[in-house]
């Protein structure tokens, strides 16, 4: 399932996938895979993404 909330939050911060990836210490393809719903990140990566986007886990990842 696509993670449109992550995509919207990233766009809200005016960040590209590349920029968010370097903020979180992962590759651009990993961010793309999470947004497309092709990859389930670990809790550590979820927290890193939330910190980079100033969001909570609930806001980005809770269904």
């Amino acid at each position: 399932m696509k993670n449109l909330r992550l995509k919207a939050a990233r766009a809200g911060k005016d960040l590209s996938q590349d920029q968010l990836a370097s903020l979180c210490g992962v590759s651009r393809q990993t961010i793309s895979a999470i947004e497309k719903g092709d990859y389930n990140p670990t809790i550590n990566l979820c927290i890193a993404i939330c910190k980079a986007l100033d969001k909570t886990l609930d806001e980005l990842f809770w269904e």
Binding site: G25, V26, S27, Q29, T30, S32, P41, L45
Partner: protein, 176 residues
Amino acid sequence: MNAVASYGMVFGLMIGLVIAVILLKFANKDHRFKTQYDERQESIKGRGYKYSFYTLACLEAALAILEVGDISFGIERYLVHFIVLLISFAVLCVHSIWNGTYWGLNNNRKRYTAIIVIAIALNLIPVIASIANGTLAKEGFNSLPLLNVIVLIWMAVIGICALVKKAFDTKENEED
């Protein structure tokens, strides 16, 4: 080459390899040269190694059966084993490329591109030399340095796969 010289060469190569690995370990004590991957890349690479291992095991088993049956190949036996190795490496590379894992987080792409260009040149020179010497026209296919030709074909396959993946990625980015 007599038997003693052959054994000497093989043992020399093996000992050289072991020394090279030990030296590399010492040189890379602080993991400066170690490629770093993120969690998704690690899991994909793990799966790639698994597929690569299965490919190697299956092909080597098939080769063993063919050799028991005394079926000979048109080329030298060491080349057949080399091809099997390259096929299993190709499985890992193609799987990694196709899942966006070929580059690590800290890879210097320019340096890698330079290494690839040098590797292509080093493999291309003997092939061109044998064609220029006229040995290809005189002695046919077997006069070619087949090992270099095989490596070049392998590199071409990986290169084509990388280009196709890049084209797909560009298209996907445009759609996003």
